[in-house]
Symmetry: C2
Subunit: 412 residues, 2 copies
């Protein structure tokens, strides 16, 4: 088992960073909200299921860059496809022809969708989607699931510099509670433009929730009845539940579906796909950015769709994810600890049953980190096809020891 991990170079680099960047590292990769002092800070190299930090420490990476890496770091087929396109053109004054190929592939791949547009960030797509809903309906109000994450734009974020007007027509329903949606429909009759939600609920700092069996069909019925646009934010879960979109996994058809992360296999791309009746509204909401036509990301996405279909990636990730989940339950139980694992096998979320402040999770993840396993204390993890049964076995060995430390420290 890997041991003697130190973070001297990480810390020195972070000290430099703190001088020239607010907080040293900002955003979701900020160590201040993770496991300070026992965690990798900067990546020097990544390959397959592993990365190495600047101190030379090696980790099995169960975060996969927070989702984009579904086929492993440096996947040779993806790199080859990107390299081929790079020799032709990347960022150009008109789009590369491959944009059309990719749009066709998206329409063919994603259940029930008739067109696609591409951007860079997941948030580009989710924000544009609510504007398409507003454009089509002429209504203002958007319902989102409480705790749901759709990006950092002011309408879906509460973190700094937000003004009342940003949230004036955003209302939070409870995921899985159709009555909480009806409440707003009754309160604001004819005023709801759209409902946006992830396909299953994956709030940060809390258990993931599968949709109840009838939830989505009831929401779909409500939207049809009330003329509300149903938007699925599949940025996080897309291509890890069902290659045809997570809505196919749960058996319903939204009006707009947003993708990013695993669509590009590390290359920046997002997409919004939509149904035919929304094409005019979609054409009316101006959507553009300097790098949105970059062909390297199109090449990666196109190759990725083919590889994921050919290899049945989801079946494999489910197998690995289930091995990890079952093993963690068992390893915790060996020390009399109770944990909860929620979410799909390919996107697991773990927490201690008696945890309410994440101190156990931070200790657990710190122990794992110092022995070569990278896990996140309060965000779901991600499985890739590069993770092997040996990676799971190694992870479980490390986790077993880490659970012991949690037991010794907290007593249970």
């Amino acid at each position: 088992m890997a041991d003697n991990y130190t973070f001297k170079k990480s810390m020195a680099l972070f000290d430099r960073a703190a001088k020239v960047m607010p907080g040293g590292i900002y955003g979701h990769e900020s160590p201040a909200i993770l496991v300070p002092g026992r965690y990798p800070y900067y990546v020097a190299k990544a390959q397959g299921s592993h990365f190495w930090d600047v101190d030379g420490n090696k980790y099995i990476d169960w975060m996969c860059a927070y989702g984009p890496i579904l086929l492993g770091y440096g996947n040779q087929e993806i790199e080859k496809a990107v390299q081929k396109q790079r020799k032709k053109a990347i960022c150009t004054s008109m789009p590369a022809d491959m944009m059309v190929d990719l749009a066709e592939a998206m329409v063919e791949t994603v259940d029930g969708m008739d067109w696609a547009v591409f951007a860079k960030n997941g948030n580009d797509a989710t924000t544009w989607a609510i504007r398409v809903a507003r454009e089509h309906t002429g209504r203002k109000k958007i319902l989102k699931a409480k705790g749901g994450y759709h990006g950092v734009h002011a309408w879906c974020s509460a973190h700094g510099g937000v003004i009342d007007e940003d949230h004036a027509h955003i209302h939070n329903f409870e995921f899985n509670d159709v009555e909480s949606i009806k409440y707003y429909i009754d309160k604001y009759p004819g005023q709801i433009a759209g409902i946006i939600s992830s396909p299953y609920h994956h709030p940060t700092f809390a258990d993931s929730q599968d949709p109840h069996p009838a939830f989505w069909s009831r929401v779909r019925d409500l939207c049809d009845k009330e003329g509300i646009i149903l938007i699925v934010d599949d940025v996080r879960a897309g291509f890890r539940l069902n290659i045809h979109g997570s809505h196919a996994h749960y058996g319903f058809t939204p009006d707009l579906v947003c993708f990013s992360k695993a669509l590009g296999h590390g290359y920046p791309i997002s997409s919004c796909t939509g149904r035919e009746f929304l094409r005019p509204a979609a054409g009316n909401v101006f959507f553009t950015g300097s790098f949105w036509y970059n062909a390297d990301a199109y090449a990666a996405a196109l190759a990725g769709l083919e590889i994921m279909k050919r290899d049945n990636s989801i079946e494999y990730m489910n197998k690995i994810g289930n091995m990890l989940k079952d093993g963690l339950y068992k390893a915790a139980a060996d020390w009399g600890l109770k944990i909860r694992m929620s979410g799909p096998p390919s996107i697991p979320y773990m927490i201690f049953d008696n945890e309410n402040d994440f101190r156990r999770m931070q200790l657990f993840c710190g122990e794992c980190s110092e022995h070569g396993v990278f896990l996140h204390p309060h965000h779901n993890w991600f499985v890739s096809t590069a993770h092997t049964e040996e990676d799971v076995a190694y992870t479980l060995d490390v986790a077993h020891q880490a659970f012991k430390v949690v037991k010794d420290t907290f007593g249970g």
Copy 2:
């Protein structure tokens, strides 16, 4: 001179695209708003100052992908730096160490700025900047120059799905008119959080305007007096006027400066740099995205800063831009046509003096396109260091003939 350009494959591909994308091509690269039928639609290859469309037509490209390409397509030094980093890591679970190097380089390069953050789109940076201004001041209102472009987000766009609340606290002053700024300061005392503007005014569909000699110093004084955050959107002009930021060219120091486009040389990146006193507010406004820590773009940006400094790229682009400008004036005059060229030499904007509907510009650009010169009918153009004196000479030959067609068609 190149001739016999046809667009058969372009049209066939566009027909396919129209089935699977709203409008076939959306956003700023939509041919519907450019020169339909006589214009390249899709890029097959790009190298140096040229690109080839899917019909095999070759063009001298004076748009440079709308700005990002400052060192030419496929610049070997940039590609080498990117390739080196790609072999290590691109998109990872923690940032690459190169993020720190780039932040240090930005702080060293950009006049008066103490920290930097990175994102993907220019609009990521401009929207975040106004939130930092709101966070710091606790005020709501933002003044922007009328006609100024800061991206497609609802606060700075009027194109589809925008609701009143998006613009409730956004007010438009007239660029170069300090009184129009004072008007809002008097009307909303103590309520203005920030003023955002490009360093010189480059509205689409209109002449560029240099700032009057005293404009920025007077705006700076007003901001200091009123506690207003001064934000420069240098996304379009950055690194084409002054390597230290366009504010250095005009001799003033803003509080926040946003970059993108030429920062990444085709690789997706944007940045907001800021002054020390804004560091706490910057740390409070959560800013993140799946691909914001991608190291290939950091590598491109870092290499690019070094190359641009070493080669004094701006001096060369000014020379080429001035040759182009002088030559176009002369070529138009040969047919008795009057044109206006505005903006800096490296970012020229051309229009016919007696034009009010862009039909002359569309004809002119269509003629140029069919003879191998790619120009835009209503958006400024961009010069790169890959453009040669031969490119200018060729362009002027083509333009000369195109002016004749304008003369023959419109009589003047």
